[in-house]
Symmetry: C2
Subunit: 239 residues, 2 copies
Amino acid sequence: MEIFYARESDGKTVFLDQEESAHCVKVLRHRRGDEITVVDGLGTMMRCRLADDSPKGASAEVVETFQDWGGHPYSLTMAVCPTKNNDRFEWFVEKATEVGVDMIVPMIGERSERRVFKPERSRKIALSAMKQSLKARLPFVAEPVSVKDFINESADGIKMICYCFEGETMRRSIEDVLAEAAEGANITIMIGPEGDFSPEEARLAVENGYIPVHLGPSRLRTETAAVTAATAVYLHYLK
Amino acid sequence: MEIFYARESDGKTVFLDQEESAHCVKVLRHRRGDEITVVDGLGTMMRCRLADDSPKGASAEVVETFQDWGGHPYSLTMAVCPTKNNDRFEWFVEKATEVGVDMIVPMIGERSERRVFKPERSRKIALSAMKQSLKARLPFVAEPVSVKDFINESADGIKMICYCFEGETMRRSIEDVLAEAAEGANITIMIGPEGDFSPEEARLAVENGYIPVHLGPSRLRTETAAVTAATAVYLHYLK
């Protein structure tokens, strides 16, 4: 099943950008009158009929609309410090999108080795992972922010920080905290860089309502911890 | 923390192979008398004192021994059909090893596009992931087998097959099945290729005691499904 992404839609007609138009018309050779499946990236899937098969700017008429297509019963923000190796972070973006995430915030921590992060590639990866996993909502990959700014600006809900508080702070397992997460919960999870959060960052998070959690006995890489945490949220709602 | 892997050990002395010896002596410049941490790949970690610092074949005296180091309270066999793209399967091997897996069986299914699989690279990846994630037990990456042979030869325990039985068979969620998994459970999970299992393979599995399970509403790639299933087992034991 092939999914097309339309940034523009007025509810009656959807407009594919140049890249999607070329893929639809040149690569897949769709012609006027063909039925195609289009998502708006905001949660809506539309069965459409191709009206203009121009490879530079195709458009289609909406036949049928499905709301919250491929959605999930929670809202998850993953705030993760990008890894030294970009591929590892991009792999997290792909996997988290497949499983189900709403917002990805790249954070720069005091101990981050990677101090610069350009979200463009990750946004492309989230887009193709959304289409590949048959979802209509595109996870938003934010511009990078400092860990402290993220903590100070973060919204309410169930907030967790994965941090190896070396014994000094009591941590709960992520499963234990998620047991309290109801349908539609707003969940935020912070994952630190290879060098972990600084003690001040961790203290600030706890002062701002972040629950210190652990992901169990295994020592996981940054991107593995991030995917494991997102998967824990996803699996919680299967129960 | 640097971990060395010793294929040979008599309980008193451990012997590093050429690659590990070179890494220990040439790269990390360890010298006779230095304390090093060695694992045997069978679950035992040993604090050792370097006795022979030859870069071709170093050996060390065992000072202290720790059993089941970095172990997990279950035994998990992941039987997964290798993906068209080798990197994706190798990524699964790395992540499953970090989280905790005991045996990885590459299966060739009737609908597998990849009909040939060489385990050498995956074994190297499992070895470095074991060391990186501070575990002493090396997951065994088996030689490839056909799906039907694997089913016919598979052991007892909690056996699950992830298969999109299109409505015709009642499936339980993996979380529902894992709820019955006690400490030390023997768990086997089968994940099909991009083209999924054939109906005959699925039927044979069910006849042989495999419980049809789903991983929830998200449509996951083969390697994502495999990591999600392994993570579900790992997280079950955090409760």
